[in-house]
Amino acid sequence: MIRRRASPAMIAALTILTLYTLYSMGPLFWLVLSSLKSRADLFTVPPKLFFTPDLSGYQGVFGVGKAAGTASAIGLTQALVNSVVIAFSGTAIAVALGTLAGYACSRFDFKGKGDFMFFALSTRMIPPVAVLVFYHIMFSRLGLADTRTGLIIITTFINLGLATWIMKGFFDGVPREVEGIALVNGYSRLWAFWHLVIPMVKGGIAATAGFCFIFAWNEFAFASIISTTQAKTLPVRVSSAMGSTGLEWTQICAAGVVLVIPVAIFFYLIRRHLLMGMTFGVLGKGR
């Protein structure tokens, strides 16, 4: 493009962006800062920016040091492994199934398509609080209580509607000529789907996977009910390690930091797909 000189519009844009970034990152920064404070330092007036770091928050979270010996039987590593396995598996399955269903709803017109789409969406509308008990009963009867498998199923279920809807949106943006051209040349629709269409929605898959992972990882309500000992996920484990002595702010902040790191890592790993692959339309291959 012809180079434009810095216009008032650009300056305004930069200002807004800077302000928003500060507003967005500020509390995060404060979270990390607070997690390293000692209990006393937390409540000073004015709030302290500089202080001697204190790891009591993290110690509480991990159940080590001064906080050793409190809370339940499982060590943190077990919970970490549980969370990773469950979140990854649940996300993978939800994204895979959602992609397939989203494609079907995008390309085919069938009776009850609207109903199916709406039904998928409605699964997300249920406030977990209302149905926790029933899931507990159901899973107990199926022998899935307190199992990783059970939680994987729950995780998949939570995210399936989201995945389907978002992927359908992305598939809608891929023109039908793409498969049309392949079909005329004798390729099967499956081939076209896998080799042509999927690469075009890689960005969408990345975004969907990112969202699903967030919801899977931070899932607390269901996890706390379904997993009681063996299959405890990290959020549950962390909260139980805190609960005994009341509202421990440093521990909460430390827990927040600990919990967000794996998600951040996940997003970092998929960042290239998120940023570059995200196109809805394909026709934009202008010179």
Binding site: M1, I2, L283, G286, R287
Partner: protein, 367 residues
């Protein structure tokens, strides 16, 4: 409508030079066609004129205004893209009137111009429709309507007919040419199809590797190609090229054994040409078979006829010269028993093998 002046335009992408020091003047209301193979820089050129591509060096003028630094919006150009870029969410009418609305034109004016544009292109029946269901030919007409609706200074067309069915292309080509003459917009047209260029252009700008090979009217390009590339690229079927060696009586063709007799004037002119290797170029249209020419007739010779065939209404024959097979066209009555190959010397060209440039030697000099 304006004169466009392109002055030493250069566009570089890193190490790659897409357009190399290109200068050209386009007259008011002229239809200039940029022709060339893929990657020759013609589209880059067009985008520079449009303001979509920044130039590394050089300047562009519309009449007497230097528009090099201006954004597209401020150049009052209009462009029709190769891949249809109509606004999919707007109906045809809204698409056409978009440029006027973008510039805040009054309602009455928008309606009037919309009406006018729709009438020219016969788009009234589809005004209420969305682009999605329309055939490509109609879509490009909408794009054209959108382009002319605000009377641009320069009209730019980037291979607009390439996505249209062969069968409709000729018709649209004719319509386009007719419209351009009627409306009188200065038009720059980009294509790789030399037939298109030859049938539409007031002048053709042949490009290769970022440079201009030749600028001229279609007949100039056809009759007086600047070099071998121009000679080969233009004209269909393409020109025959034969290695030749000099001989007192004329030229020895392809290998040495066939003598092409030349008239005295031509022989003299040949003598003036310094020591260099030569190639003869002649279009199949100017190679015929004749029966019983006089023995010392110029421009004829014996050559084995490999095949005779017809494609559509055209009759062709293949003949051999040395190791090459060349093409000729039969016009007029069928040749008799032992036909000879005849070159129309008035349309034969000599090229310098090293530089590829055409030598200004007339081979049909007086006897």
């Amino acid at each position: 409508m304006a004169r466009v002046q392109i002055d030493q335009l250069t566009v570089r992408f890193g190490d790659f030079t897409a357009v190399d020091d290109l200068s050209l003047e386009i007259e008011d209301s002229e239809l200039v066609v940029f022709l060339g193979p893929s990657g020759c820089g013609k589209t880059t050129m067009l985008r520079c004129i449009a303001g979509l591509q920044a130039c590394t060096a050089g300047r562009i003028w519309f009449d007497h205004e230097d528009v090099t630094e201006r954004t597209s919006a401020r150049r009052n150009v209009a462009m029709v893209f190769q891949f249809v870029s109509l606004y999919p969410h707007l109906r045809v009418a809204a698409n056409i009137s978009f440029p006027l609305q973008a510039r805040g034109a009054p309602r009455a004016e928008i309606e009037e111009r919309l009406d006018w544009a729709a009438r020219i292109f016969g788009l009234q029946p589809v005004l209420r429709r969305f682009p999605a269901g329309l055939p490509p030919g109609v879509k490009q007409k909408v794009a054209l309507a959108r382009a002319v609706v605000r009377r641009p200074t320069v009209l730019l067309l980037d291979e607009p007919l390439s996505a249209i069915d062969e069968s409709f292309r000729e018709e649209m080509r004719w319509e386009l040419g007719h419209l351009q003459r009627e409306l009188g917009f200065t038009t720059v047209y980009v294509t790789h199809d030399q037939r298109e260029a030859m049938s539409l252009a007031d002048r053709v700008v042949l490009m290769r590797d970022g440079r201009i090979v030749q600028v001229g009217t279609p007949s100039e390009m056809f009759e007086q190609p600047a070099d071998e590339f121009a000679a080969f690229f233009i004209g269909s079927p393409s020109m025959n090229f034969i290695e030749v060696k000099r001989d007192p009586a004329g030229l020895r063709l392809g290998g040495n054994d066939v003598l092409l007799k030349l008239p005295a004037g031509a022989r003299a002119a040949l003598g003036e040409v310094g020591p260099r290797n030569l190639r003869l170029g002649i279009r199949p249209q100017h190679v015929a078979l004749i029966s019983d020419p006089a023995d010392d007739a110029v421009g004829t010779f014996d050559a084995p006829i490999l095949d005779r065939y017809a494609i559509g209404r055209e009759r062709y024959f293949d003949f051999a010269l040395g190791n090459d097979t060349l093409l000729g066209m039969q016009v007029g009555p069928e040749a008799g028993e032992r036909p000879k190959v005849a070159f129309d010397l008035a349309h034969a060209h000599l090229f310098d093998c090293e530089t590829g440039r055409r030598l200004p030697v007339r081979l049909a000099g007086a006897s």
